[in-house]
């Protein structure tokens, strides 16, 4: 009887103490929220697990990295509207520029804080064609042939598709000694060959793969490689054009929020980790091109050589490109209003 009573008391005491113990443990634990865009889910899942180990070894702290994925623009708007991201890893610098300008949670020169324009791994724009390339598509200029149908998403609604458009523009610009008029004509003719403008890049892939519409899908290299591998190496081929745009999905610490959460240090360490060889190897596995010279030497062979221009070189940065090409009344709208007439 007494033993029972003692036992009961002990249990009660333990039950009272236990929550205190667990709160203490919870304080040890750090949480980061990485707000990213759609196709990086699997990539960051793997990187996050690895970095949590590294962080535990380095500091003894338990680290949990939460992920959020959606269209790049939608994610940026969520962060501006108050989604408490410690780090943002989006599809284009313009979206982070807008967070800096409107949300004011990170400085305007955020892109200078980390190497390679704050881009730990990059990609480029390539073509997916039907098996053994029946239309003989080899380069950008094949996309304006009247017998070729091209699938790409609407650059007004899809951040990813803006790279496709700028890739075509850059090619034409270089082919025609920098003539904007020639580039505009080229891009206009290319979009005449586009029968469906899906709202997002994934929608375009579905249109091309599932509906069987179009001869060429313009896509990010990592998405193209993934799609071909998952949906049928026996159904599609990848064509690398003679020149393409360097697609740079940048990363940044959302500084004001990280400071508020007290996670500035771990957030910064997390992004720096993305540049290490271990993270670069994971990125290469997920078909992103590494940017570090040593990783490039190690994994670069898996990616075909293609001369790439950057958005800063040809377009004077994202803000300018956005304003000239994709704003309402910009070049993209003009192409369609002249086509309608």
């Amino acid at each position: 009887m007494t033993t029972f009573k003692t036992l009961a008391r002990l249990t009660l005491a333990l039950a009272l103490v236990a929550p205190i113990g667990s709160t203490a443990a919870a304080q040890e634990k750090v949480t980061l929220l990485n707000v990213s865009y759609d196709p990086t889910r699997e990539l960051y899942k793997e990187i996050n697990a690895r970095f949590a180990q590294v962080w535990k070894q380095r500091t003894g702290q338990d680290l949990e990295i939460k992920q959020s994925h959606a269209g790049s623009g939608a994610q940026a708007r969520a962060v501006i509207d108050g989604l408490e991201a410690d780090v943002v890893t989006l599809a284009l610098a313009y979206d982070i520029d807008e967070i800096a300008a409107r949300g004011k949670t990170l400085p305007a020169d955020w892109q200078k804080k980390l190497p390679h324009n704050s881009t730990p791994f990059a990609s480029t724009i390539v073509f997916v064609v039907r098996k053994s390339n029946p239309k003989g598509v080899k380069d950008w200029n094949d996309l304006i042939r009247p017998d070729v149908q091209v699938i790409t998403a609407n650059p007004k609604t899809s951040g990813g598709a803006r790279w496709n458009y700028l890739g075509a523009w850059g090619y034409a610009l270089q082919k025609n000694k920098g003539s904007d008029a020639a580039a505009r004509d080229f891009v206009g003719r290319l979009y005449k060959n586009v029968p469906v403008l899906d709202a997002g890049a994934r929608g375009s892939t579905t249109t091309f793969v599932e509906r069987g519409i179009g001869d060429v899908l313009i896509a990010w290299e990592n998405e193209a490689l993934l799609a071909v591998k998952q949906l049928g190496p026996d159904r599609f081929d990848i064509v690398i054009p003679s020149v393409s745009i360097r697609a740079e999905p940048p990363v940044a610490v959302n500084e004001a929020v990280a400071a508020k959460h007290g996670t500035s240090k771990v957030a910064r360490a997390y992004l720096e980790f993305l540049y290490t060889e271990r993270a670069q190897a994971i990125a290469a596995k997920h078909y992103f091109r590494p940017t570090g010279p040593r990783s490039l030497a190690k994994y670069g062979a898996a990616f075909p050589q293609v001369p790439q221009f950057t958005i800063d070189e040809l377009f004077g940065g994202w803000s300018k490109a956005q304003k000239t090409h994709f704003a309402d009344g910009g070049v993209f709208d003009q192409i369609y209003s002249t086509a309608a007439r």
Partner: protein, 288 residues
Amino acid sequence: MTPALLRRAATSGQTAPTVRSVLPGVRLTLGFTIAYLLFLVIVPLSTLFVRTARLGWNGFFDAATSSRALAAYKLSIGTSVTAAVVNGVFGLLVAWVLTRYRFTGRSIADALVDLPFALPTAVAGVALTTLYAQNGLIGALFAPHGIKIAFTPLGITVALTFIGLPFVVRSVQPVLETLPKEIEEVAATLGADRWQTFRRVILPALTPALVAGVSLSFARAIGEYGSVVFISGNMPGRTEIAPLLIMSKLEQYDYSGATAIAVVMLLLSAVILISAGLLQRRATRRAA
């Protein structure tokens, strides 16, 4: 607006009791109702107008009346009205069959009607596009005759008809169920032929519910985004619905421009729904 239509549809035919309720708590429930509407409807919609006001009159005018915006209103309203009217005719037919006939699988058919309510719209969009694309099961039947369905306004109408169907069926069904079969027999014994019975006896009783159902179907269609973006093809000036234009404005962080289009859509929808409400009230009065 629309719940009011629904309620009116539900009580149509009977004179609404204006007797004081025996249950207490008028103040409590009224207070709750007002607070509820305030936070869920009035405040959000007002911020829409406040955001638009930042544009100034000229900015609003430019954003709301660009040629693309005009094309989008025309497309959105045209396809939504068409879909609502198609649903009015065929939804009535479905409701009629479901209430007046007993056949095997009736309860399954009845349950199927609700499916467009429950299905995530993106799923509906993808499924419809698969079927109605040129290489799709249904699209392939029409393609040889030069009729393209997916990626044309016709395809948009198909998607909007799909999502709007349950509204008409579910509005008309309860009224049909309470309509005694005897009055049809009475009409017949008084010498009315079948068409006259339908037109002069049944239709007037159903009109309020039918108008309510069609209005709801329209209201749903006008704001639909998820299913339409897959089947529309989103070609600027041709198959761009107004909600897509709003999305593309948001993608440029042009919040004010987006709300300008939203305000125009809101006003246009309000005008159409109020006209439908007036039509319904007239029909109710005539039926009574």
